[in-house]
């Protein structure tokens, strides 16, 4: 039985409350199903809705997104048009009005497609706990006593690519998600093929050495993946189609 919902007014206050246990809740799209069904005992909730973590700022080419910013806000921001297809590939419009950027970094794959995009952007993630602050990468684990406060990245230099294979056109989890920046530096991030978003380093190296070697790079994207069977696709299928989607993403074709 839930005993209290805390409404901290800052990230520091949230981190302080977290020392006593409890669950952080951003948009509620992951935590509230557990609360509603009682499937997992939840004692205290610590809501980030009033913690001052919302908002998008773009200065020169640096983008800073507060962790409690909703996916819908990212999807409507004029300066972030290149991310709009990724946002529209996640859940449904009502869920996107609640789900937060920080929360998207924490949900396990095959959800969390924005995290895949942010990994391709090499985003930095600021986290605070009661007695420290640190900056991590999107694929680094965040500890249970830490609060994500902000995500930062530079606008992509080079072509931006995003592609999500799913069972239907809207509101479905990832079979395979590919996000990439292709320029002098190549960064390819994959979703749906490991518990967390991963970089396709082998594929990146091939493209940086031989920019035209798209087919070889797409094959190499299989290196290091750990796909699982779930309701959306089998591990076998994900492994089979990954190079197809990496290739199409890199070529920017349907």
């Amino acid at each position: 039985m839930l005993s209290k919902v805390h409404l901290p007014s800052s990230a520091a206050e949230a981190a302080d409350l977290l020392r006593g246990g409890g669950w952080l809740v951003g948009g509620g799209t992951v935590v509230m199903p557990k609360v509603n069904t009682g499937a997992v005992p939840v004692d205290d909730l610590i809501s980030l809705r009033h913690a001052g973590l919302g908002g998008i700022r773009i200065e020169q080419d640096t983008v800073r997104i507060g962790a409690a910013t909703t996916l819908a806000e990212v999807g409507q921001h004029d300066g972030l048009g290149f991310l709009h297809p990724a946002i529209r590939s996640i859940a449904s419009p009502p869920v996107r009005n609640l789900a937060t950027v920080g929360g998207n970094l924490l949900v396990p794959q095959p959800h969390g497609d924005l995290a895949v995009a942010l990994l391709a952007l090499d985003a930095r993630v600021d986290v605070v706990s009661a007695d420290s602050t640190r900056t991590v990468s999107v694929c680094d684990p965040v500890h249970a006593d830490e609060v994500i406060t902000e995500v930062r990245f530079a606008l992509p230099k080079g072509a931006w690519r995003y592609r999500k294979a799913m069972r239907r056109k809207h509101n479905s989890a990832s079979i395979v998600t590919v996000a990439a920046v292709v320029g002098d530096e190549v960064r390819i991030a994959l979703g749906g093929v490991a518990p967390r978003p991963i970089r396709a380093h082998a594929a990146e190296r091939i493209l940086e050495t031989t920019p035209g070697a798209v087919t070889e790079a797409a094959e190499a994207a299989r290196e290091g993946i750990e796909p699982v069977d779930d309701a959306y696709a089998s591990a076998w299928y994900r492994t089979r189609v990954l190079p197809v989607h990496v290739r199409r993403a890199l070529l920017g074709t349907d």
């Binding site: 039985m1 839930l2 005993s3 209290k4 919902v5 409404l7 809740v25 948009g27 509620g28 799209t29 509230m32 199903p33 609360v35 509603n36 069904t37 939840v42 909730l45 809501s47 809705r49 009033h50 819908a72 529209r88 859940a91 449904s92 419009p93 009502p94 869920v95 009005n97 609640l98 056109k169 809207h170 509101n171």
Partner: protein, 162 residues
């Protein structure tokens, strides 16, 4: 337990209620305020039958801890028919046979209201995307999509003659 008094403006009326810790906005609407149009379906934000407008944006009310939205403005299906007159969306759902069992209807209409408020002339694809979080197990969606497009047309026509 630390229950809390929460104030909401629901369908333009000031309301106050006592919320148990972690109670959802849906529970507050149905159990505290007796507004039962929004339906309790999946309880995990997947079915859309509890969709209401929270500060004018559609959300699954089951996913919102009501204590976190103190002093927010909420619109439910009960607040759509002004003075007992069905609005264009409701009238189109009625005339176009867009309901069968009716369980999804309240959520469908609130999602459609939000779509049309921001986009008075949506394409079919935009309607399909807008209702992608609202599950209907009866109609096969086609009459619902047609009704929303019809409602948009009715509303545009009403504005032209107004």
């Amino acid at each position: 337990m630390a229950s809390r008094i929460v104030s909401l403006t629901v369908n333009d009326r000031e309301e106050e209620l006592i919320a148990r810790p972690g109670a959802s906005l849906l529970s507050a609407l149905r159990d505290n305020l007796g507004l039962t149009a929004a339906k309790r379906g999946c309880a995990q934000g997947a079915c859309g039958s509890c969709t209401v407008l929270l500060d004018e944006r559609p959300v699954p009310a089951c996913l919102v801890p009501v204590e976190t939205v103190d002093s927010a403005s909420v619109r439910t299906l009960e607040g759509v028919a002004a003075d007992g007159e069905l609005d264009e969306v409701q009238q189109a759902f009625l005339e176009d046979f867009a309901t069968q069992c009716g369980f999804c209807t309240a959520g469908m209409i609130m999602t459609a209201e939000a779509l049309l408020a921001g986009n008075p002339d949506p394409t079919r694809d935009e309607v399909v995307e807008a209702i992608s979080g609202n599950v209907c197990r009866c109609t096969g969606y086609e009459p619902i999509v047609a009704a929303i497009l019809d409602a948009a047309e009715r509303r545009r026509a009403a504005r032209r003659t107004a």
